[in-house]
Amino acid sequence: MTELFEGLKAAFLLLVRLDADLVEITLRSLQVTLSALVIASAIALPLGAILAVRRFRFRRATIAVLNALMGLPPVVVGLCVYVMFSRSGPFGVLGLLFTPTAMIIAQVIIIVPLIASIAHQSLRDLWAEYHDLLISLNTTQRQRIATLLWDGRRALLTASLAGFGRAIGEVGAIMVVGGNIDHATRVLTTAIALETGKGNFALALGLGFILIALAIAVNFAIHWLTRTEVEGRW
């Protein structure tokens, strides 16, 4: 119990002092995760819509694979990205290993299946609702997908938020591909792992509280943004 209290105190002190290291790794956490989120959403949301609307040969197989990939252990993803981007790997020449870019790539791979899966489920329901109308209006595939993405945007936001939650708290993969290098690839989760390992429980807990606060703040911010839209429009 005293450790929890010490942790809260540490978090409080770090915050009031606006500790330079803390600010740096917090911003890096946000930068990596938000970049991964934008890229992953740009891939996963249209993918979810295509899976809802189009009937192609390997559709069922694709959905099954996507659902299976949701359970992918992040550390294994990290390992695969590591192998691909290590000096002797196929993308070794890019020199991306141990950079935030490699961390973003790993996170994208981890959250695309999650976002696409949730997006597909809600868009499938919306498609069932709209199907006859959109067929009758003779819409093109592209128009159908655009319509679903727009009218389903609230549910899609939830899908993206789930992805954000998973990515911001992820530690295994980004530890492997980022290396937790001070002033280069250290983020909140890897810093917590490091401090715990060193026995600095108070500091680790303090960072943990900040991580939680960050995740909640982003969720609230996005929900608040959509709430104002709802009240403004309807």
Binding site: L126, L133, S136, L137, D151, R233
Partner: protein, 238 residues
């Protein structure tokens, strides 16, 4: 661009699903003008027949031929479903949606939406979410959204089946107005009074087969088949 995609010619057309014939074989020609009602008991195949004509139900055999190039004919028909499909958008955006699919400029689309909202007494609801409208308002909106692209022909599947008298009257007026403007209408209903008020010709369908296709006066005065007689006198047809 052809003047109208009518007449519609249906030849030996059937819809079968899982070994069961739902409709057909149907041979029918719908002339350029008129207000056709399709009547028959529940499960007779009214919905399937309309969907088949509109081209959203796959044919198992036969042909449905419009007068015009294939690429053009679908855009010149409109269909109103039995339970109106409301897009999760404002009333305004529901009305503009079919126009935005084409090349209509945004301001023009909004203007037309406002004109239509005025006509169906929903002007004050333009910014309201369509999914919170009442049943009658939804059906009026669905009809306006169908008419906004100025179709040659409008299909309606039991548009008043869940509505009260006042909403029904409003919709009948809307449909009569569209008919007077020259829009071909084909509507299923199981309300005989409504069929009498609106129809210029009647298709009587039973167990997927068309038993009668005749001018409305003739059909209601002197039905030609025993089944139609029984149906009109209120007997239950299996």
């Amino acid at each position: 661009m052809v003047k109208t995609i009518l007449p519609l010619e249906i030849s030996n057309a059937s819809v079968r699903r899982r070994g069961k014939t739902l409709v057909g074989p149907v041979d029918l020609i719908l002339a350029e003008k008129g207000f056709t009602t399709v009547i028959g008991p529940n499960g007779a195949g009214k919905t399937t027949l309309l969907r088949m004509m509109h081209g959203i139900e796959r044919l198992s055999q036969g042909t449905v031929t419009w007068h015009g190039p294939n690429a053009e004919v679908r855009g010149r028909q409109a269909f109103v479903f039995q339970s109106p499909i409301m897009m999760r958008r404002s009333v305004r955006d529901n009305l503009t949606y079919p126009l935005t699919l084409g090349k209509t400029p945004k301001t023009e689309a909004r203007q037309q939406a406002e004109d239509w909202a005025e006509r169906i007494n929903l002007k004050s609801a333009l910014n309201r979410k369509a999914t919170v409208l009442s049943g009658g308002e939804r059906q009026k909106l669905a009809i306006a959204r169908a008419l906004i692209r100025k179709p040659d022909i409008l299909f309606l599947d039991e548009p008043c089946s869940h509505l009260d008298g006042r909403a029904t009257r409003e919709i009948e007026e809307l449909l009569q107005g569209a008919h007077e403007k020259g829009i071909r209408i084909i509507m299923s209903t199981h309300d005989m009074g409504q069929a009498k008020r609106l129809a210029s010709e009647v298709v009587f369908i039973l167990k997927g087969r068309i038993h009668e296709f005749s001018p409305a006066d003739a059909f209601f005065d002197t039905p030609g088949t025993n089944e139609a007689k029984a149906f009109l006198s209120g007997d239950i047809l299996e």
